[in-house]
Amino acid sequence: MSEGKILDIAHISFLDMIKIMITMSGAASAKGALIRNAIKTADKIAEVDYPTFDDYLAAIENASNPITMIEGKATHSGNFVFGLQNCPFGPSIKNYTQVFEKLPEGFADFTAEFNKQSNITDQYRVGEGAGVSPFCSVHQPMRSAFAEKIMIGGKKIKIFQLGCKSGSGKKGFAEKWIAESGVSRDVVDKILDNHMCCYYLKVLA
C-alpha cells in the first residue's frame, strides 16, 4: 500500500516560518535575520587553504570543498565562473508545492527586499537582482561567507553572485556584480540555461 505524500516537516516549517517572520516583523527584518543566520553558519567551519586553483576544483569533485558541502557540486565553466546544477532549496520547494500547490504569501516581497541595495548584500556581493526566491537570501550570503574561510595559494577569495534561475525558469541577473566582476552577461545567461545559479570566484592579490 502506498504511503502517499509525506511532508518533510523541517522543510515545511522553515518555509512557513519565513512567512511568519515577514508578517511579524516585516520583510526587511526577516531578510536580515536569515542573512545573519546564514553568515553565522560560516563560523562553524574551519579555514582551509588549497595550494592551487586545481586543488580547489578537485575538492569540489571529491565533495570536500566547504562550499560544495552546503550546495553540492558546482561546474567550473572557465575563467573562474561557476554554475550550480541544482538549487539546494529545490527539494524544500518541491516538497512544499507538491502538497500546498504554491509557496506562502509574502515571498515575492521578501525576494524584492533581498534584491534591494543594502550594506550587507554589498559586503557579500549578493542580491542586486540575483535573488529569485527568499532562499537565495540564505544560500548566496552563506556561500560568500564560507568563501571567506577559504584560501587558494595563501590568497583570500571572494565570490560574486552573478545570476540565478527560479524553478519556473525565470532568470535573475545581478548587473552590479556582473559589471564589477567583468564577466560577460551573455556568459551568465548561457550558464543559467543549464544551471540554477551562477557565480564568479575572485582570487585576491
Partner: protein
Amino acid sequence: MKNILIVDDEKSFLSSLIFGFESYAADFNTMTAENGKKAVEVMKSRDIDLVVTDLKMPEMDGFELLAYLSRNYPGVPVIVMSAYCTSEIKTMLKDSGAFTILEKPIDFQDLVNKIFLGLEAVSEGFIQGIALPAFLQLVEMEKKTCTLRIESHGQKGLLYFQDGILIDAETDKEQHESAACTIGCWEDTRIEIESFCRKKMRQIDKPLNYILMEGYRIKDEQQRQNVARTSSSTTVANAAGFEDLWPLTPGMLEEEKPLEKDIYEPDTKEDKVAQTKEILNELAKLQGVDAVCLVARDGFLLDSIARTGTDTEMIAAIASGGFGASEAMGRQIEKGAMIISMIEFEKGPVMFSPIGNDAFLVIIAGKDGNLGMIRLKIKKYCGELAMAAAI
C-alpha cells in the same frame, strides 16, 4: 543682598518657610505674598531677584502671576510649587530654562538648593524668561481651565484650555490645530491669561506635546526651505545670515542649534558618514542618553555612538525585530506610519524611530533621560539622517 518673594495662600506654610530661611539671612531677604495680586504689588515696590510661587491661590493665581512675570519681569527666575508634578513633566520642563518646578509637599533643603541655583543663574545671566511651551505644559499638568492671549513680534493668537486640555486655538490667519502649532513655536512671547475658557467645542484632538513637536517640525521645514532658497540665490551664506535663518527654538540651549552642515545635502560618501556621525553625536549628548544606533531595516548596524562595552551590533539585530513588529502592529490596526515606538524598562526607555525608508534609529536612555527633548531631537534630525544615511 538678594531679595526673594514667596507666594502662597497657606499662612502656616509661609511662616514655616520664613522660620527656616532665618539660617540664610546673610544670603537673601525673604518677602511673602498670599496671592498673585499681592505679589504684583511687592514686585512693583521692591527689586525681587527670585520668585517662589504656588499655582492654586485665590484672587490672582500662580498662572496669572507667571504670565505677569513673563511680560514684566522676564529676567526673574521662578520656582513653581505643584502637587501634580510627575517626574516626566519635571524632566520636560527642566530644559526649558524658564523655571524650576518643585513637587509638593516641599522638601525644604531642595527648595533652598533651587533658590541658590536660581540666584546664581541670574548673576550669570542664564535666565531668559518663561518659555511658552513650558508654560503650556504647566497649564496641562495642573488641569487649568483658561484662555491664553499670546503675542509675539506683532502676531496675536489665542489658546483655549479646558481642564488642562488644549481644545482650540486661533490666530489672525489660522484656526484650530494649525493655529496651535504655529503659536507653540512663537518666541519672545507675551502671555495674558483669563481664568475661564471662552470656547466650549473641542476642535483639537491631539495632545499638547504632539502640537508642540509638530509646530517645531513645521517650523524646521519652513526654515529649511528658506535656507534652500537662500542657498540657491547666494553663493556663500555668511555667518550672520546663517544665524538669522536658524533662530533657536524656545527652550533650546545654545549647543542645540542646528548643525551648520544642515544647509546642504552631503554629496560624497565621506560627507554622509561625517554628517551622520555628527548628528548621532548631537543625539548622544542629550541628557540621559546611553546609546544611539542607526540601523538598516534589515538589522545591520550603520553607525552608532555608545558607552564602551555596549554590543551595538547585537542591539541593532534585536531592535530590527522590535522595530519591524511595531510597524507591523501599526499596519494591523490601521494606524498609519509609525513615528516613534518606545519600550519603557525598569532602568530606562528604548526608542525606535524610522529614518527614511531604509533605516531606523535606536535610542537607549537611562531613567533620567529627557524623553520630551529626545522626541523633539529625533523629529528635528530625522530628515538630515535619512539623507545622510541613504544607502
